[in-house]
Symmetry: C2
Subunit: 409 residues, 2 copies
C-alpha cells in the first residue's frame, strides 16, 4: 500500500454524537487480517427478534459474503443475530474457498454467541483475489464477545475503514406517539481504494420494532434516492452491502404508515451517502446534480448519472471551470430523451444556458466565482415533463490518479 492519503478536505469536523440503540452492542479487534497496528474486525451483536433488511451490489461478480447475506436476509427473525465485518481482504473472486471462509466465520460467530448461523451476516472489504485468512478472525471471537459494549459504535466505524480518510456515522431520533425511537448508522467507502478495489459498507441500527418485510420495503425504497444516487467514479464494487437492523428493544412499533420514521431513516441514509462522497478518492468538491423536467423520473435519473459520471465534467469542476458545454454533452450522450432546444442549465442560482443557447444573463466572471465554492449544484431542466432526480458526486482530481495508479506493494 502507498502512503496514507491525507484527510479529505470535505470531511466533517468530527465523528457525530450518536444515540445508543437498545439491543445492539459492538466490539472490535486487531486480528491482523492484512493491516498492521489497527483494528480490522467488527462484531455487532443484535437482540433476539431483530428484523434484518438489506440491499446489495448488483454486480455479476459479487463476493461470497454478499451471496450469503442475500440468501439469509428474508428469513424470519428467530433468536439473536449478528454482523461480522473484516477489513483488509474482500474475499471476492476467491472461488469455492471464498464460500468456505464465509461458512467458517458465520458458523464460528453463531457458536460463540449461541445463535443460528442463518442469522449471522458477514461482510469483507479490501484486497480481492486473495484467500481470506479466516482463522485469524475466528481466533478472536471469544475476546470480541467479552468486549461487547453498547457504547462502541465509533470504534466500529473505524474498524471497517480501508482507505477511507475519516469514519462515517449518522444518527437521529424520531418521536412516535410521544415515545422516542433511535436510529444510528455507520458506513465505509471512498469509491475504490489503493491498493485495490473497495466496497461501500453501511450498517444502520434502530430500536424500533418493525416487521421484516416492512423494513425491507422501506430500505429498498429509500435506497433508490440515497445510496443509489451517489457515484465517485462509476465503478461498482463486488461487495457493496447495506444492512439495517431493527432490534425492537424500544418496544415501539413502527408500520409502513409511519412517515416520521421513514423520514428519520432517510435522513440517516442520505447523510451517510453524502459522507461517502465527501470521502471520495481525491475529492475537493461536493457536487449535487439536480435534473428537472424529465420525461420521467427514471429518465431524469439517467441524465443525472450521465452528468455525475462524466470525467470531463468532473475535471471541469476540479478546475473551477463553469463549463456548461460539457453538461450539454453529458445530457446528449445519456441515451434518455432530451431536446437540445428546450435544455436550460444553472450553476447554483446562475442561469448559464436557456432553451438550447447560452443564457442572455450569462456572466462568465460570476459563474467562475461560483465554481470556487466547495459545494457545487448543477441544475438541468429538460423542459419535457415532470420527471426529477438528484445525484451526488465529487470532482476528479490528480489525487484520484495518485491513489489509483500507485503500484501495489
Amino acid at each position: 500500500m502507498g502512503a496514507k492519503p491525507p484527510l479529505s478536505p470535505l470531511a466533517p469536523a468530527g465523528f457525530p454524537e450518536l444515540p445508543e440503540i437498545a439491543g445492539v452492542s459492538f466490539a472490535t479487534t486487531a486480528a491482523g487480517v492484512r493491516y498492521k497496528d489497527r483494528t480490522d474486525v467488527m462484531l455487532a451483536n443484535l437482540a433476539p427478534g431483530t428484523a434484518m433488511a438489506g440491499v446489495f451490489t448488483r454486480s455479476a461478480t459479487r463476493s461470497a459474503a454478499v451471496l450469503d447475506c442475500q440468501e439469509k436476509i428474508g428469513d424470519a427473525p428467530v433468536g439473536g443475530a449478528a454482523i461480522l465485518v473484516n477489513s483488509g481482504n474482500a474475499n471476492a473472486f476467491t472461488g469455492r474457498r471464498g464460500a468456505e471462509s464465509v461458512e467458517a466465520v458465520t458458523g464460528a460467530v453463531a457458536e460463540t454467541l449461541g445463535i443460528s448461523a442463518t442469522r449471522v451476516f458477514s461482510s469483507s472489504t479490501g484486497v480481492i483475489g486473495e484467500p481470506l485468512a479466516h482463522d485469524r478472525i475466528t481466533a478472536c471471537l471469544d475476546d470480541l464477545k467479552s468486549a461487547l459494549s453498547p457504547h462502541a459504535i465509533e470504534t466500529a466505524a473505524h474498524a471497517i475503514m480501508t482507505t477511507d480518510t475519516f469514519p462515517k456515522g449518522s444518527g437521529t431520533t424520531v418521536t412516535i406517539d410521544e415515545q422516542t425511537v433511535h436510529i444510528a448508522g455507520i458506513a465505509k467507502g471512498s469509491g475504490m481504494i489503493a491498493p485495490d478495489m473497495a466496497t461501500m459498507l453501511v450498517y444502520i441500527f434502530t430500536d424500533a420494532a418493525i416487521e421484516q418485510d416492512i423494513l425491507q420495503d422501506m430500505v429498498s425504497a429509500l435506497n433508490r434516492t440515497t445510496f443509489n444516487c451517489i457515484t465517485v467514479d462509476s465503478d461498482t464494487s463486488t461487495s457493496d452491502t447495506l444492512l439495517v437492523a431493527a432490534t425492537g428493544a424500544s418496544g415501539i412499533r413502527v408500520t409502513e404508515t409511519n412517515v416520521g420514521f421513514m423520514e428519520g431513516l432517510r435522513r440517516v441514509m442520505l447523510d451517510l451517502a453524502h459522507q461517502v462522497v465527501r470521502d471520495g478518492e481525491g475529492a475537493t468538491k461536493f457536487v449535487e446534480v439536480s435534473v428537472t423536467g424529465g420525461a420521467s423520473d427514471a429518465e431524469a435519473h439517467v441524465h443525472a448519472k450521465s452528468i455525475a459520471n462524466s470525467p470531463l465534467i468532473k475535471t471541469a469542476v476540479a478546475g473551477e471551470d463553469p463549463n456548461w458545454g460539457r453538461v450539454v454533452m453529458a445530457v446528449g450522450k445519456s441515451g434518455a430523451r432530451a431536446d437540445r432546444d428546450r435544455l436550460s442549465i444553472w450553476f447554483g442560482d446562475l442561469e448559464v444556458a436557456r432553451e438550447g443557447f447560452v443564457s442572455p444573463d450569462y456572466d462568465e466572471a460570476r459563474a467562475a466565482a461560483y465554481m470556487k465554492n466547495e459545494d457545487i449544484v448543477i441544475h438541468v431542466d429538460l423542459g419535457l415533463g415532470g420527471g426529477t432526480a438528484r445525484v451526488w458526486t465529487c470532482d476528479l482530481t490528480h489525487g484520484y490518479i495518485d491513489i489509483n495508479a500507485d503500484y501495489r506493494s
Copy 2:
C-alpha cells in the same frame, strides 16, 4: 486555452505516404475562426457522381452541421460534391443561429463551386455554445477554390485539428481484377479538448465506383468494429462525423461482394481509429481489450466497453499495475451476463486468473514486467458461449486531468 500539450508518446513516426485519390482535391486556409497563426478551414472538392456515405454521433444534443449532413447523406449523387470543415468553433448548442450558419456556409460553398447545396457536407469542431463567425469562412471560399490541389491531403489533416498533438492519416490500395483502386483518409480527435469539448471527425476518400447504398452499408458495418470500438474517456461528442466519399474516378466498380475492397476500407478505418486513441488526452499506453466466450457478440462488447471505460482499470494501466481484480469488477458491473466462476483473464500471454480464481501460474513479477510495455492487451474469456469483441482505449493519467481541468481563457 492552456499551453499546447506535448506530442503524444504514442504518436507514429510521421504522417504516412498516402495515395492520391482521383476526383478529390483539397485546399486549406487560416480564416481566423478562433485560432491564430494556423489553418482552420479545409475544403475538399469531389468529382461529379461521387457517392457519399456517413456515420454520425447518436448524441441527443448533436450539432447543426451533423443534423444537416444526416439530412443530405442518402441523396442520389447528382453533380459534384464538397466537404467543408472548420476547427476552433463547434457551432453546437447555438440554437437557430447554428442552423443558419450551416446554411450560410454550405450555400456559399455550393455557389462558389457551382454545385447543389444539398451536396455540400460541413463539420465544425472546437468550442461549443458560441455562435460561429461564418462570415470569416465564406470570405475565404474564392481563395480556397483557386488553391484546390490533389496533393494537399496532409495539410487538410492539419487544418481540422483542435488539440490533437499529431495529424492523422491512413491509406491503402486494393487490387480488383488486376486494376488498382485507392483509399485515403484523415481524422481528428483526442477524446475531448481544452478549452472545451471536441469531436472526432473522419474523412475517407476512394476513387472506386460504388453505389451509395452499398457504400453506406459497408461503412455502417465496418464502423461497428472500428470507430465504435474505441473510447478515450466514455464521453460522447455532439459532433462526431465519419464521411466516406467514393468518386468513381478510377472507373473501377466495386459491389457488395468485393471482400478485398471491404478489407482495405476496414484497414484504413481501423488505423485511423487507433491513431485517435494514440492521441488520447494524456495517453501513455495503448490498450486492446479482447473479450471472448460471451453469451453473444453484443454482450461481449458491453463487457469490453465496461473494462475500457473503467477509471480504475485505466489508472491501474497508467501505474503499470497488473490489477486484474479491477477487471473482475468491470465485468461484474457491466450488466451483461457473466459467471464469476467461469471467468479467465490474461494480460498479454500471461494468464492471471482462471475460472474465477487467481491462476495457479500467476507470477506477479512477470505480470508487472508486462505492464511496462507501451501496448497492453487485456483478454477476458467469459466461458459462456461464442461471443467476441475487441475495443481499444488508452490509460488515464495526470495528463488527462491537466488538459481538462485547465480553466478556459
